[in-house]
């Protein structure tokens, strides 16, 4: 039993944390996050040049990491800095292609960071359907609130079918594909992706017959782990900021951290963050294991835990900060929004609790 990261992984995390601390202050982040595209293309390029995306993939895929713990340290660091650049899409779309095999060129572009990809999974009001046409398919319908859809040059699209889901690779410039982009509440961007009689050839298919669910699970599983780790990183930042405030802010002539009512709330926050951290460690550990049920259960447990704890930490940090926690100018408010809204991605706390029960 060992709770230390390997030297390589620790170095990766240190490099990333330092680069983000020096090059990604909250002003830079917010300028991109609430700007027109919802991210900063220059920052994205700098971070991918550090090899951050490559760390999310194994050597066979052209990366240098790819284990559950690699995903964990990278996304924890991204969460700590509240990064909005399209790493989640790279991870999920890339892991789908890597699981399936084929589409090597697209995958290589994603791993190197040259290609921005999005994983289009949740259906909108009109679910995406694929009708067989010749060797290929005609795609229609809308995928909802796809993270960083506007930035993506390529989509990995899932289509619910009887039996096994169909997974398709769709370049964003394919005729009939349109994206309605918008910023999201906590900063960053997403988009509804609509397919209007999009004609795709047989080569658009990701994976073979009967492989669909395994590909979706690989992508979504990686996404769940990433979001859970991101949340813990954001919680760590918020914890430190809140502690600083409790020590500095004076009322009634003393630092407010001297008041027991606030101390006990903060102690509870600390406890729950440690528990969330443990949940992510459990999920990262099960992620590479052979026991798929244990893996899915640990992932559901982690996403459930960070959903519940994320909202708690967000609400408590705002309360403990008082009015200042409500201001746009103060970094913590943006972290609080992310910690609440992360529960709206890839299934919320109730969804994952039900999933956990169903897998039991």
């Amino acid at each position: 039993m060992n709770f230390e990261h390997t030297d390589d992984r620790r170095m990766l995390a240190d490099t990333l944390v330092r680069a983000l601390r020096d090059g990604y202050p909250i002003e830079t982040r917010n300028a991109g996050a609430y700007g027109e595209t919802g991210y900063d293309a220059g920052v994205w390029q700098q971070l991918t040049e550090l090899g951050i995306v490559s760390a999310l993939f194994d050597e066979a895929t052209g990366g240098f990491g790819g284990s559950g713990f690699d995903i964990m340290v990278v996304f924890e660091a991204l969460g700590r800095a509240l990064v909005v650049e399209p790493f989640l899409g790279a991870l999920m779309a890339g892991r789908a292609l890597a699981k399936a095999g084929g589409h090597d060129e697209t995958l290589a572009g994603i791993v190197s960071g040259e290609t921005i990809a999005a994983f289009a999974h949740d259906d909108g009001a009109t679910p995406v359907t694929a009708t067989k046409s010749g060797d290929g398919w005609t795609l229609s319908g809308t995928k909802a609130v796809v993270s960083q859809a506007g930035a993506a040059s390529v989509f990995v699209v899932t289509v619910e079918q009887d039996g096994d889901p169909l997974v398709l690779l769709v370049p964003a410039d394919t005729a009939g594909v349109s994206v309605r982009s918008f910023n999201v509440v906590e900063g960053g961007a997403a988009g509804d992706v609509t397919f209007e009689n999009v004609t795709l050839g047989a080569d658009a298919r990701v994976g073979g017959e009967g492989q669909g669910q395994a590909i979706v699970d690989a992508a979504v599983g990686a996404g769940l782990l990433a979001l859970s780790a991101e949340a813990v990183g954001a919680m760590e930042f918020v914890k430190e900021a809140t502690l600083g405030y409790l020590r500095d802010r004076k009322q009634f002539g003393v630092p407010i951290g001297k008041f027991q009512a606030l101390q006990h709330r903060m102690a509870t926050v600390l406890l729950e963050i440690e528990q969330a951290h443990s949940a992510v460690i459990n999920a990262a550990s099960a992620f590479d294991g052979d026991d798929t049920k244990a893996r899915e259960r640990a992932l559901a447990a982690a996403k459930y835990t960070i959903g519940r704890t994320g909202a708690l930490v967000a609400e408590e940090t705002i309360q403990l900060h008082g009015g200042i926690g409500m201001t746009w100018e103060y970094a913590v408010s943006h972290y609080a929004k992310r910690l609440v809204m992360i529960d709206h991605q890839l299934g919320d706390e109730d969804y994952h609790l039900q999933r956990y029960i169903a897998l039991g």
Partner: protein
């Protein structure tokens, strides 16, 4: 990072499992599994079995009869012990006084008292809390006045767990009334058969007589029974409390009682289906199960930090709070699971050796008393609110 046990630790776990399989009497494990109250002789029987194997005082140094285990080995042992439904080791001699004597006692005291803890010659109890000194333990008022070669002790202790069985009590007493409150306390070993001691049982919320009041009227205690130095008792008392918290998360107990809860929920019916399939109840169970899985890793992370040379200390306060919340939630769900048959009060059914006919499902009679009894978990060993004070000061630096 690697959450699996090493091959050596796995082999150790097998050894421990085999021991419980071969040496734990079925009569005792049945009593524990069913939540019955153990008699003094039951506890002594189990202590003797552990002692024969050299595993009773598993954190003592080898010199004094400990097995020389790592913190991870102790964690494995504690967990397996709970999963096997072994009786708990009565902590007062083994886990509390033992470490204090080993660190602060004289050679004579160690030689006199430690072997007697192991072989069961003495049953120790703890004289800490007083009517006016609970969370504010240092406010204790029981006095010890030196007269020649004895201390004369006057005052009252309370919440003395299993004191009705005890031959000996270790006590915090005030030896200097003029000093700051923490600086006038001494640590005394007192023979419970001394003239002037009276033990009165306190009946608890579940009807059990588990704790007592102990009154001291001009009780004479040999000066040789002072541990360490006079007026240094607070240091020893705090040292003891960190040992009290070593297995404080009680992960093993929670795993075992959760397994039991799953059986009960499977067996009980609600609206024509098993309670385990009721969505609301299933959600309550899943929440606590996830909390417990997280807790197990949190506990191991704290232990790994200790094993790696890091400081334990205040982290045990986190384990205490969360661990007891989980244990209480499981007893609460178990009570709910029995539905209306949690209501009948059948005190005899709680005692070891009762052979009467159950009212309702087997073991239903234990569910509510056990739930009420376990409210103590968030109160003793430093209430969970006191633990939050410790976290605020020692971890958060507030």
């Amino acid at each position: 990072m690697d959450l699996s046990f090493t091959p050596e630790e796995e082999a150790f776990r097998e050894e421990v499992r085999a021991f419980f399989r071969d040496k734990l009497p079925a009569r005792l494990s049945t009593l524990v599994r069913e939540g019955k109250r153990l008699r003094k002789s039951d506890m002594e029987e189990w202590h003797a079995i552990l002692n024969e194997r050299g595993w009773l005082a598993n954190h003592w140094p080898e010199e004094w009869g400990g097995p020389g285990w790592s913190v991870i080995q102790r964690f494995i042992f504690d967990n397996e012990s709970a999963l096997a439904h072994a009786p708990r080791v009565v902590p007062f001699g083994v886990n509390m006084l033992g470490p204090v004597l080993i660190k602060y006692g004289s050679e004579e005291q160690k030689k006199q008292w430690l072997p007697r803890i192991l072989d069961g010659s003495d049953w120790w109890c703890q004289g800490y809390s007083e009517p006016g000194a609970g969370s504010d333990l240092a406010g204790l008022k029981t006095t010890a006045v030196r007269k020649g070669d004895v201390y004369v002790v006057n005052g009252q202790k309370t919440w003395t767990t299993l004191g009705q069985h005890a031959d000996m009590i270790f006590c915090l007493v005030r030896t200097d009334a003029t000093a700051k409150k923490q600086e006038g306390i001494s640590f005394l070993l007192i023979d419970m058969t001394s003239p002037g001691i009276e033990v009165r049982p306190i009946t608890l919320i579940d009807g059990e007589q588990e704790v007592n009041e102990v009154f001291f009227t001009d009780v004479e205690v040999p000066v040789a029974n002072l541990v360490g130095e006079e007026n240094m008792g607070w240091t020893y008392a705090k040292y003891l409390l960190t040992y009290e918290r070593t297995n404080i998360a009680g992960v093993g107990f929670s795993i075992a009682s959760f397994e039991r809860l799953k059986e009960v929920a499977q067996m009980q019916k609600k609206g024509g289906r098993s309670l385990a399939d009721d969505p609301l109840f299933a959600a309550r169970m899943a929440r606590v199960e996830i909390d417990l899985a997280n807790m197990q890793t949190t506990n191991l992370r704290v232990l790994a930090a200790v094993a790696g040379g890091g400081a334990p200390g205040a982290e045990s306060s986190m384990l205490k709070i969360k661990g007891t919340e989980i244990r209480q939630e499981i007893t609460s769900l178990t009570r709910r699971a029995y539905g209306s048959y949690a209501a009948p009060y059948i005190p005899e059914a709680l005692e070891a050796g009762w052979n009467g006919e159950d009212v309702g499902p087997e073991d239903a009679a234990m569910a509510a008393p056990s739930y009420f009894n376990n409210r103590k978990l968030s109160i003793f060993g430093g209430s969970n609110e006191i633990q939050k004070n410790i976290i605020s000061k020692a971890i958060l630096g507030l």
